[in-house]
Symmetry: C2
């Protein structure tokens, strides 16, 4: 098998390098879009309160927008903002033709009903891809016609960012998904279920494993592709992995580590050192799925702008 | 293993008898609801044109309503009705507090955009359970809390009727779903995907098989529970079935049969005679899943009326 340029010489899938490649593609497409139609994609980011982590994430997203040629619009609110004021801002952004994507940075303060605010975002501007109507589209197998061609770059709706990132990592590291057996570990709304739907749309035969699965290791060991998104540190052991399988680790868990200066270290849901010896390819944590999420956010924003031009962005 | 009263003496799951039992339960609950709150559940049925089959289905549904104590309201439109008039009727029914469920009999004439009419139905009155927002709720694992108790009779939204019928047939014939391996054959929006989601919510470990699956028979043979919903006559053969598995056949296919008076006969997606010898339990076609769909429609209407009372029927 040829070694794709986007992965390093060994069997580690380099999420940072693949995300960088995708950001380069987006930059080129933004430039072409500007030239052909005069349109610059726009992302509105809403930040409430002064959580350091949220402020960091927002800064990273805005910087990423600037680098690829997407306009960003940042709106700061104090932590005592009312739900009504936030919803009014979202409604204003829904109506603004310069805004193709709206991102409300989570978590919101406790007095605000998060889902209510998120559901206010027009599905066509929901670049996180978590609106129920976007999830339902992903489950809608007939949408994609009898050819069953399913191309993430031309979907008529927004698919969730982290799940899309998993698919890109699998495909760009040289694995064809169609016809493979895949196992998704975890059934969360934001990762497990959309990853299942994406793999199924890509014509894999997919099984979802969860806390009530009997003999999870035996079920997992059938898989050519494993996506772990369960949030339990190093749960997936080498004897869960079929030799040669592709392993994508969505987990980010903090574990105590007295030898580290910070007193802890970050690990995935997969026992990386052990599984690396069995897997065909594997993502590290950090540096695997993580960098892909922002790249997919940028791509969703670009696609939203393109759909707007073709008249598909009404609602 | 004890033989439940709802199945016949051999290993055939009697859908007609189980549907009858459920209709009896609904009748009791409707009587209790009337007594406690003065409310009678109401189902509006909209029929367009004069297709004989559609008229028959509508008549069956209205008769079933009468038998259990649900009000039915029938609206007939000529086949040249405009889309706008149909949508106006749905909007009127959305606003009518005596109507808890709205059913638009399909197919609609070609000049009407079916999905547009269906999407007009309020999700809370979509007793067919096919509205995208209802499908998204079914995919929403967090809705059901950490106890993971998932009770079809108290869902806060409408799940699709035929898929619900499959679950009832499995459970009422004495099979516990939790922890089992299940395989769904077919990934349609109206059956395969919702059946997958329901089995997953019921804590089975579920795999979806489809046209691009390699070695489907081997994958199917792992399953303790098989739901076939692919629309191909007798595709599932005895060597696909693990001895003792529960087999639910959603297919209804017409095949030529010169020995029959009508020249054809109805068969499922499962080779019934062959698989019956291997399966622990199996549904026939007809008389298996078919009778369950109307029973689930009645139950959705009843649940809609109950939710309306508790203030959960706003939108």
């Amino acid at each position: 098998m040829a070694t794709p340029s986007s992965s390093s010489a060994d069997n580690i899938i380099d999420g940072k390098a693949i995300a960088e490649t995708i950001r380069g593609e987006i930059k080129e497409e933004c430039a072409a879009l500007l030239q052909s139609s005069g349109v610059t994609p726009g992302l509105a980011v809403v930040l409430v309160g002064n959580r350091t982590d949220s402020a960091t994430y927002v800064r990273m997203k805005i910087k990423a927008c600037e680098e690829v040629g997407i306009h960003s619009f940042k709106f700061d609110f104090p932590s005592d903002v009312t739900e009504a004021d936030l919803i009014a801002k979202v409604a204003e952004l829904n109506a603004d033709p310069a805004v193709h994507g709206i991102l409300v940075q989570l978590p919101l303060p406790g007095h605000i009903h998060e889902q209510k605010v998120l559901d206010t975002i027009l599905p066509d501007k929901d670049v996180d891809g978590l609106h129920p109507l976007n999830l339902a589209q992903l489950a809608h197998t007939n949408t994609h016609g009898s050819s069953r061609k399913f191309d993430l770059k031309t979907l008529p709706y927004h698919a969730a960012c982290t799940p899309q990132g998993c698919i890109e990592l699998i495909e760009r590291s040289g694995t064809v998904i169609e016809g493979k057996e895949a196992v998704v570990i975890g059934r969360s709304n934001i990762v497990g279920i959309p990853v299942f739907l994406l793999l199924m749309q890509k014509n894999a035969t997919v099984t979802v494993i969860h806390s009530r699965t009997k003999d999870a290791s035996a079920v997992c060991k059938r898989a050519d592709i494993v996506v772990a998104a369960v949030g339990r540190a190093e749960m997936v052991k080498p004897d869960w992995i079929k030799p040669g399988a592709v392993v994508i680790d969505v987990g980010i868990n903090s574990v105590d580590d007295p030898t580290s200066k910070k007193g802890y270290r970050l690990v995935g849901d997969v026992d990386f050192a052990g599984c690396k010896a069995v897997a065909g390819k594997i993502t590290p944590v950090p540096g695997g799925v993580g960098p892909m999420t922002i790249a997919m956010l940028l791509r969703n924003t670009l696609q939203g702008a393109k759909r707007g031009l073709s008249g598909g962005n009404g609602n």
